[in-house]
Amino acid sequence: MIAVFTLVLQILACLGLGAGALRTLKVLDRLACVERLGWSFAIGMGMLGWLLFAIGSLHLFRPEILWIFLGLAALPSVFLWRASPSGSFDRFDRWQWICLVALSLAAVFDLLEAVAPPADADTMAYHFALPKQFIESGGLDFVPRAIDGAIPLLVQMTYIPVLSLGGELALTLWTGVSGWGAVLLTYAIARRFVPRTAALAFAVLLTSTPAIVYSGGSGHVEVRLAMFVLLAAIAIADTARTGDWRYAAIAGLAVGFVVGGKYSGLFIALASAIALFSALALQRRPWVVLCVILCMVTLVAGGQWYVWNWIHTGDPVFPVLFGLIPYTDPTYWDMTHQRALEQVMAIDERAAPINLLWFFAYPFVATFKGLPIFESGRTGFGPFVLLVLPMAAAGIWLYRRDLHKSMLFPMAVIAVLFYAFWFCSGFSQRIRHLVPIYPLALICVGVAAVRGVDRFGIDRPFALAVGLAATVQLLGHAVFARNYAGYAFFSESREQFLTRNITGYPAAAWINANLPSTAKVFTAERQLIYHFDVPAYYGHPTDDARIDIHPGARDRGRFYAQLRNQRVTHILIRQAETLDAESGIGQWRGLASHGCLRPAHTVTVDVFQSRTLPSLSQTTTTLTVLEFDETACQAMNARSAG
């Protein structure tokens, strides 16, 4: 009950903060009803994350303060109900009812995921683990780990009130609900250009897109960033249409929230500034003041995490500028890890060379035969955009002379430029990094296709494309939800569900049951971090230099000193992966051979490649909990010193 109450309060807090901001800017009454909800929720969620940074940096993550904060933030939501109603309501026709049924099905599938315990690996490693850590310490701690520690955490800040006040169920319900913000905005924006049936169809296609299904209900930030990108794009389009500074300010807020949510948000910021400039300049409108407003508001709304990183490391985009500017603490990062990380990015995260051919080929290859690194098969974007491409091309050709005047122009510029920046940057080529711009691409292509369909009378092939894509995506969504239905309907316990879904969960359960709260566990088993009740140190071969386990590291004395420096008392290791090597994560063997580490518990566990379809690949591995023997360790150190 408390979980649902907290969830509702946080939703109202988002709506309240957003509605308050829109009313202050005198924009609320200009929006259609569904836009008011979508815009308010997006702005409010961003503001919530922004304000929670301030609360956390003052170490005020205390329940009473979070209750008061959410309660006060929810108050302005009354503006939403008092805003003058807009437009009349038409009855739904048959096709619209079919879309609503499809949306309801998707909502039920998402609800099944939301009521189950969290099990996604990235979510366990940091999306949920960091908020849990911050709540336990009462405020923000700097985590000097590349990729998933010292990063912009605006979205994860919104996980803190729900987890702190409503518990884990409130948190998973929140990720389930907040993932639908992008769907609501997609419908609201599409409604400006196409009839209600098409807008509802776009919403169905978006919510059932495999990449959205995969990450929407988890702690991943991309779907929530997509909501901010949608708001930024439509606000930029409105700025270009009206020349009103208020829309530029709203766009700046939304762009800032993307920047504050992920490093790649910087690409969105650059693309948005270019989109606004080009849209205004092509229409011969004054652009300087509006672009300055956009950039300044973006800086304020999104700059805090970069200042936070700069204060703690000297690098606002840790560790991108390593070697270019001085670092404040040399233990946080070194050249060895810099090179190892660059190698991982070049080999493990990049399957296609960065050239013009692959720039154009990537969307097609990722759709029809994705390379494993793209992760575009089971978690890709589905077939819709490519199926309606000829119809969209026809629509674009029809309006080719006035394209730059269209409200879709700046939206398309943002999507295309972000894709270009992302592809050329050498960033991870996993397709989910494109999720923030996918709804924009869906709207732009979808609206252009509808224009072509209307003009050339090709509605049947278009309807077939929508029907096929939506059907196969919803079937995939149902298969995804089947795993969670087991928990919801078949009396499966939390422990049973987690054992069935998370590699090594029994080891975490043993640690929680048997180790004292004074213990601290070092492990590279990232999928377990959130589920530890005792303090845990998440070690990483390339992302963390404080405890050096990069593949070439082979110094047991230094390894021991680093572990003890972090007050580690136990180590959890996976024996199968380390073989007999005494380097990297295998350095524990050097300590064990001197009796400094001894086994405390060993468990054989299932290894899952896919939670949805565990039968795709099922093997077992052995996890061992090792504990320090201080006497043996001191003897080992004495021998080494001698």
């Binding site: 089971r378 050339f456 092939p461 039968s615």
Partner: protein, 39 residues
């Protein structure tokens, strides 16, 4: 090009594209059918 020809061509594109999309999942589809006892 008349409208009928255009529609036929687009039908071929949509059905062909959809089939090409599904081919990559043939092993996955078989697994899903097995899961539901339909394999």
């Amino acid at each position: 090009m008349n409208q009928r020809t255009l529609n036929v061509l687009l039908f071929v594109w949509v059905v062909g594209g959809f089939a090409a999309y599904l081919i990559q999942f043939h092993a996955l589809i078989r697994t899903v059918l097995d899961v539901f006892g339909l394999g």
